[in-house]
C-alpha cells in the first residue's frame, strides 16, 4: 500500500546502553521493505526543494522514485552521478539544514529520511558489487591531488573519468583524511571509507601515502611534474584557547583525541599500540560535531561523566541534530552558558579541573546566533580529569608556509576565484582548505567543481 506523507519510518538503532560499549554504527540502516515504505512517503514536490538545497544538487526525487520501484541499482547510479561518496554523505551530511530541512513534512518531524535512503542504496551497491560503469578515454595530462579527504576524493574520481592521470598525495599512513582520522566509526564505519578509497585505486588513481607536500615532497616539484594541481588539504591544525593550563597532562586538542581513538584505534588498546588517557570526568570545550564526536568517544572509552562546556545554549549548538540527540541519549551532560578561563592542575602537572565564567545571551551577532556575554565575577570551578578543546581547526601551516605563492585569507584559508583557481595558474583548491570548518558535502561539491575547472583549463591549454 502506498502511504504518501504519514509518519517517518523509524530507524532501528543500537540502544544507548549497548552502544556506549562499542564503536559500531548507531543506526542499523533500513531494511529493503522499510526503505521502500519510507520512499513511498515522498510526494515528489514539483519544484524539488530538497534538490535545490542539496549542495551538489542530487536528483533526489528521481532517486526516490527508483527506490519505490525497487530499482536500487538505478537509484544508486542517480545518487552517484552527483555525489562521489553517497554512503558517506548519507551518514554525515547535516540533512536537517539541507534536503530534509525543506521537505514539506519536516515541520512535523516527518521529513523524508533522505540521508538514510541515500546510505541504504549505497550500502546495497557495495554489498552487491554494483558500480558505476564508465569508459575512460585516456588523456596524457597529469593532475596531482593534495589530500585524500572528501574534496580530493571527489575531484580525483571526476578527473579520472575525464581521462587524466591522477596521483593523490596523503600525509598519513591511511587515505581518507577527516573521514579516516576525524569522524568516529560509530558515525561512519571505516569499512565504508576503505571501500571508497579502494574504488579510487580500482579506477586508476595512484594513491601515495606518507607523502607530506611541503615537507617530504615539495610543491614546486609537483608544479613541474604535473599539468594541474588540486589542493584539498583540509583544515587539520588544532586551535587552542590560549588560556592558562594548556601545558597540563590530560588536556588534548580534539584532533589528538580523535586521531588516537579513530585512526589509531586507541579503543582497542593494548591490542592496538596507541594509548589514550581518559579520566573519570571529562570536559569537552565546544558544542559542534567534533565536540560531540569527542564526547561520545569518551563515553565509549568508559568515562563516567562527560560534559560539554558551551558558551551558548543547546539551541545554538552547531552540531547535527542527530548527533546531539544521540549524545544526550548516551548520557552526555550539556553545560550551557559557560566559558573556560583557565585549566587547573596539580603539582604533578595533571589536569584537576577547570575555571568557568558564566555567560548570558545577548543580541544576535553576524552568524545570526545570540552573542554570548560574560557575566563578570561569575567564575566558578569544576573538577575534571581530562579536558578536550574542540574549538574548530584551521588549515595546516606546514603546507601553507612552504607555498608563499598561494595567497591566504586572514583565517588561513586559500584565496580562490569563482572557478576555484588559486592565484597560481593551474592550481585549484576546495573543501576546508578554502572554507575553514565546513561539511563533507560542500567539500564534495568543490572537488567536482574544481575537476570541471581543471578539465576546462587543460582543454584551453591544449589549443
Amino acid at each position: 500500500m502506498i502511504q504518501i506523507g504519514g509518519t517517518r519510518i523509524a530507524m532501528e538503532e543500537q540502544p544507548a546502553q549497548k552502544r556506549i560499549k562499542n564503536f559500531c554504527s548507531v543506526p542499523f540502516g533500513y531494511t529493503e521493505e522499510e526503505v521502500i515504505a519510507e520512499a513511498q512517503r515522498c510526494i515528489q514536490c514539483i519544484h524539488g526543494p530538497c534538490e535545490k538545497m542539496c549542495p551538489v544538487h542530487m536528483d533526489i526525487k528521481a532517486m526516490i522514485r527508483e527506490i519505490v520501484a525497487r530499482n536500487f541499482k538505478e537509484a544508486f547510479l542517480i545518487a552517484k552521478k552527483d555525489n562521489a561518496i553517497p554512503a558517506i554523505a548519507g551518514r554525515v551530511c547535516p540533512q536537517e539544514e539541507q534536503c530534509e530541512g525543506v521537505c514539506p513534512f519536516f515541520n512535523t518531524d516527518n521529513g523524508i529520511n533522505i540521508g538514510k535512503l541515500e546510505a541504504f542504496i549505497a550500502d546495497w551497491a557495495m554489498e552487491n558489487g554494483v558500480k558505476e560503469e564508465f569508459h575512460i578515454e585516456e588523456r596524457p595530462e597529469k593532475v596531482a591531488i593534495i589530500g585524500s579527504g572528501p574534496a580530493g576524493i571527489s575531484c580525483a574520481v571526476d578527473l579520472r573519468k575525464y581521462g587524466y592521470k591522477v596521483t593523490m598525495f596523503e600525509a598519513l599512513h591511511k587515505a581518507g583524511g577527516v573521514l579516516q582520522y576525524g569522524i568516529p566509526a560509530f558515525r561512519l564505519p571505516k569499512d565504508i571509507v576503505d571501500y571508497e578509497i579502494s574504488y579510487l585505486t580500482e579506477i586508476g588513481v595512484e594513491v601515495k601515502l606518507n607523502h607530506i607536500v611541503g615537507q617530504n615532497i615539495m610543491f614546486d616539484e609537483l608544479r613541474k611534474k604535473f599539468d594541474a594541481i588540486f589542493v584539498g588539504t583540509g583544515a587539520g591544525a588544532p586551535q587552542f584557547l590560549g588560556i592558562e593550563g594548556e601545558r597540563l597532562k590530560g588536556l588534548y586538542s580534539a584532533n589528538e583525541f580523535l586521531f588516537r581513538t579513530n585512526l589509531m584505534k586507541a579503543y582497542e588498546f593494548p591490542e592496538y599500540d596507541t594509548p589514550i588517557v581518559c579520566g573519570a570526568t571529562i570536559g569537552v570545550i565546544g558544542a559542534g560535531n567534533v565536540a560531540m564526536d569527542v564526547a561520545r568517544g569518551a563515553i565509549r572509552l568508559g568515562t563516567k561523566d562527560v560534559y560539554i562546556l558551551y558558551r551558548r545554549t543547546k539551541k545554538e549548538s552547531p552540531a547535527r541534530a542527530e548527533e546531539l540527540q544521540h549524545a544526550l541519549e548516551e548520557g552526555l551532560k550539556f553545560m550551557e552558558l559557560v566559558n573556560p578561563t583557565r585549566v587547573l592542575g596539580n603539582e604533578d602537572g595533571w589536569v584537576t579541573g577547570i575555571e568557568l565564567l558564566r555567560m548570558k545571551l545577548g543580541e544576535p551577532d553576524k552568524s545570526g546566533r545570540p552573542r554570548p556575554i560574560k557575566i563578570e565575577g561569575s567564575e566558578f570551578t569544576m573538577k575534571l580529569d581530562t579536558v578536550v578543546e574542540a574549538l574548530g581547526s584551521k588549515p595546516n601551516r606546514l603546507f601553507l608556509d612552504q607555498t608563499p605563492e598561494l595567497e591566504t585569507t586572514r583565517w588561513g584559508t586559500l584565496e580562490i576565484d569563482k572557478d576555484l583557481m588559486t592565484g597560481v595558474e593551474g592550481v585549484y583548491a576546495g573543501g576546508d582548505a578554502i572554507r575553514g570548518n565546513a561539511t563533507v558535502i560542500l567539500a564534495l561539491g568543490d572537488g567536482r567543481k574544481a575537476a570541471q575547472s581543471i578539465h576546462n583549463y587543460l582543454l584551453r591549454r591544449r589549443k
Binding site: H173, F240, S253, P275, V277, G349
Partner: protein, 283 residues
C-alpha cells in the same frame, strides 16, 4: 610501502641499529630531522632518530633504545623483515654553517641523533668538539665514528667506567672555562635526555652562548595536526614536530617538557605487559 631491513646491529644492551630501505627519505634527509615509523597495522607511530643515510643505496639508518613496547618489538625484527610505514624526513633541518668552534653534547641515544649533525658541522668547516655521555661505558655508542670527525672528543659516564666520572655538563663547564681565553665557543648543541639538555642550558645561559637542543616530546602524526608535541618556548606554544625539533635551549620550558613526557607512562607499562604475555604464549 614496506621498508625492508637490510642491516641490523646490537649496538649495546638495549640499543639497536637498523638500516632500512627508504630511498625517498635518504634523498631528502638533512641533519636535525627525524622519521616516524609504524611497525605494522596495529602499531603506533613512533618518532625515531636518523643516525645516517645513504643516497646511493637508498637507505637510512635508525638507532633506537628499547624504552617501551614498540621499540622492544622493533628490536625483535631482523634483516629481511620490514616495517609497514616510515614517513619523513620530518621537522626542520638544523642550521648548518660555519660558526667557528662548536661543542656538541650527546647523551645516551641522543648521541645517534647528534652524529649526522657533527658530520655536517665538520664538513662546513667548524672546529667541532664533542662530549658524549652514558650511564656506563657499555652503553656508549658511536664513539669511534665521532672521534674521527671531531678535533677533541670527551667521554663522561655516570659510573666512571669510562672517561670522566660524572656528567657531560662537568666536562662542558671545564671546557668552556678553558676556551674562555682562547676564542671562546660559538655554539653548543645538546641532544639527549631532557634533564641533560636542561643542565646544558643552565651551564651556557649565564655565559650567553647560543645553545640548541632537540626536543623529543610525544608525537602522533608529526605534521602539526594533533598538538600532542606542544612545547613552550619563551612562553609561546610551539609544535616540536613542525616548528622544531630544535629550539633555543635558553627559551625552552624543560619542566613542562619533562612533565608531558610522563603522560602515557602507565599505559606504556600496560602495553609492555600485554606484549610480554603474548610473546610468552607464542613461545
Amino acid at each position: 610501502m614496506r621498508h625492508k631491513i637490510i642491516d641490523k646491529k646490537d649496538l649495546c644492551p638495549g640499543n639497536y641499529l637498523i638500516e632500512i630501505e627508504a630511498p625517498n627519505i635518504a634523498q631528502r634527509f638533512e641533519p636535525g630531522q627525524f622519521v616516524i615509523v609504524r611497525i605494522n597495522e596495529k602499531g603506533e607511530r613512533i618518532p625515531l632518530t636518523v643516525a645516517d643515510f645513504d643516497t646511493q643505496k637508498g637507505t637510512i639508518t635508525l638507532i633506537f633504545q628499547v624504552v617501551g613496547k614498540s621499540t622492544m618489538q622493533l628490536g625483535t625484527l631482523n634483516v629481511g623483515d620490514a616495517v609497514l610505514d616510515c614517513v619523513g624526513p620530518l621537522g626542520k633541518p638544523s642550521e648548518i654553517k660555519k660558526f667557528g668552534r662548536v661543542i656538541c653534547v650527546g647523551g645516551g641515544t641522543g648521541i645517534a641523533c647528534i652524529y649526522p649533525l657533527i658530520r655536517a658541522l665538520a664538513d662546513a668547516g667548524n672546529e667541532v668538539i664533542s662530549i658524549i655521555g652514558a650511564r656506563t661505558a657499555s652503553l656508549l655508542i658511536l664513539e669511534d665514528e665521532i672521534t674521527v670527525l671531531t678535533s677533541r672528543t670527551f667521554v663522561a659516564t655516570d659510573d666512571g667506567s669510562k672517561g670522566h666520572h660524572g656528567f657531560v655538563t662537568d666536562v662542558l663547564t671545564n671546557l668552556l672555562d678553558d676556551y674562555r681565553n682562547s676564542g671562546g665557543v660559538e655554539r653548543v648543541i645538546a641532544i639527549g635526555p631532557p634533564v641533560m639538555m636542561r643542565a646544558v642550558a643552565d651551564v651556557t645561559r649565564s655565559l650567553h652562548i647560543k645553545t640548541i637542543v632537540s626536543l623529543n616530546s610525544i608525537m602522533l602524526d608529526g605534521t602539526g595536526m594533533c598538538g600532542s608535541c606542544r612545547v613552550f618556548i619563551d612562553g609561546e606554544m610551539k609544535l616540536a614536530c613542525i616548528d622544531g625539533p630544535e629550539f633555543d635551549a635558553h627559551k625552552v620550558n624543560f619542566e613542562d617538557l619533562i612533565s608531558r613526557l610522563e603522560m602515557f607512562k602507565e599505559k606504556e607499562s600496560e602495553a609492555m605487559n600485554h606484549y610480554s604475555s603474548k610473546a610468552g604464549v607464542r613461545k
